[in-house]
């Protein structure tokens, strides 16, 4: 296939991926990598590089909006970024050493798990403020966020377990070229007991920095091909911008279900092709 045709097809596929990713909150990276490897036969290293760059683009764009609304907690984000960036560098080095089949299998497993995590019903803000702990107090993490009338304050707890989960999120991001937003939200939502909107906004705020930490290493190792990454980045940016405008519709729930099924099929396919390559080289 020539460059023009390939660029057009990948651009369109990425726009759809970006649209679905932002509508469902799973992020574009989850569809980009299976799309490039399974449909276009791209080597997973190029796919991971392109996806990571797309992740930076969408997260920076979305974070710009969230920060202005005042939902992100910049202190919590910055502190936890120590864990995610260090983890991301470790993950990128791991990606350089692991066989590509193993990366495909790990990707499939993480994909299934994330689909499960984001598909669970969420309890909306209960209103009762949790007891904070000394570490959160020392790190000045407790904050407020806007509600329809004024603002509501919240407390933070379990900083060490949140930090640990963030390190795992960083490793996955650096290894697989994804934003691993699901694990980040899990760390802040479940472990540190942040209000859901604050954890989503802060997670989005952190994804770009986490991805940038492994992007430098990917760039140096030649994982980032300009010809391939260009349609992916432009497509995902366009798709996710449109997706963000369509948020909160009634059909979102139904779409989330369909998307979940697609994800599981893609994940199974990635695991299968990884294993096949492993057993029969």
């Amino acid at each position: 296939m020539n460059v023009l045709a390939l660029t057009g097809l990948i651009g369109m596929g990425s726009a759809v991926a970006g649209y679905l990713g932002s509508l469902t909150g799973l992020g574009g990276g989850f569809i980009i990598i299976p799309l490039l490897t399974l449909v276009f036969g791209v080597d997973i290293r190029y796919a991971v590089g392109a996806s990571l760059i797309a992740v930076i683009a969408t997260s920076s764009g979305a974070a710009a909006a969230y920060v202005k609304e005042g939902f992100s907690n910049i202190r919590i984000g910055m502190f936890l970024e120590i864990a995610t960036t260090a983890g991301a560098i470790f993950g990128a080095f791991l990606a350089l050493r692991l066989p590509t089949h193993a990366i495909a299998v790990i990707f499939g497993l993480v994909l299934m798990n994330s689909a499960y995590l984001s598909g669970r019903p969420r309890e909306e803000e209960g209103g009762d403020v949790v007891k904070t702990d000394r570490l959160a107090l020392l790190l000045k993490m407790n904050g407020t966020y806007p509600v329809p009338r004024g603002s509501r304050s919240y407390n933070v707890r379990s900083v060490p377990s949140g930090f640990g989960l963030m390190a795992i999120a960083g490793v996955l991001s650096g290894l697989l070229g994804i934003g691993s937003g699901a694990v980040k939200v899990l760390a802040m939502d479940q472990a540190m007991r942040l209000p859901f909107k604050v954890s989503t906004a802060t997670s989005n705020f952190m994804i770009g920095v986490t991805a940038a930490a492994s992007a430098g290493i990917y760039l140096n190792k030649g994982y980032i091909d300009p010809g391939l990454t260009m349609p992916v980045v432009l497509g995902v940016l366009i798709g996710s911008t449109i997706g963000a405008r369509h948020l909160f519709g009634a059909e979102t729930k139904k779409l989330r279900m369909i998307f979940g099924v697609v994800i599981v099929i893609l994940a199974a396919q990635m695991i299968y092709s990884g294993l096949k390559g492993w057993i029969i080289p």
């Binding site: 020539n2 460059v3 930076i56 920095v209 940038a212 492994s214 300009p226």
Partner: protein
């Protein structure tokens, strides 16, 4: 962190993405014009030529108006956007005399710069 600073951080992020997107778009026009009918293979991993793998090489390549170099420069702007955001946070924490978070931010910035200059 007050509202004015949040607006500043938000605007920085948005401008970074717009600058990067425009540069990638310009580069893609040149690349597609000269190489639109070439046949490419991404099936086997070959890595990228040396000059497209590090900051100095990419800048030099982009200034000679090579399509691929210009796209890569746009991607570099994209990677630099979160780094710029962390740098801006550093300035904000220093001005607030928040030494704990100045140290935290310096650590994050150090990790990011290590990765970007990794050879």
């Amino acid at each position: 962190m007050n509202h004015g600073m949040e607006m500043l951080v938000g605007n920085l992020l948005r401008s970074g993405v717009i600058l990067a997107g425009a540069t990638v778009f310009a580069g893609s026009a040149i690349y597609l014009f000269y190489h639109g009918f070439d046949v490419v293979h991404y099936k086997t991993f070959q890595g990228e030529p040396e000059e497209l793998c590090h900051v100095a090489g990419i800048v030099k390549n982009a200034f000679t108006m090579h399509g691929r170099g210009l796209i890569q420069l746009g991607l570099l702007f994209l990677i630099a956007t979160p780094v710029a955001r962390v740098s801006l946070s550093l300035i904000i924490f220093v001005r607030q005399r928040d030494y704990l978070y100045t140290a935290v931010t310096l650590l994050v910035l150090g990790i990011l710069i290590y990765s970007l200059l990794y050879r």
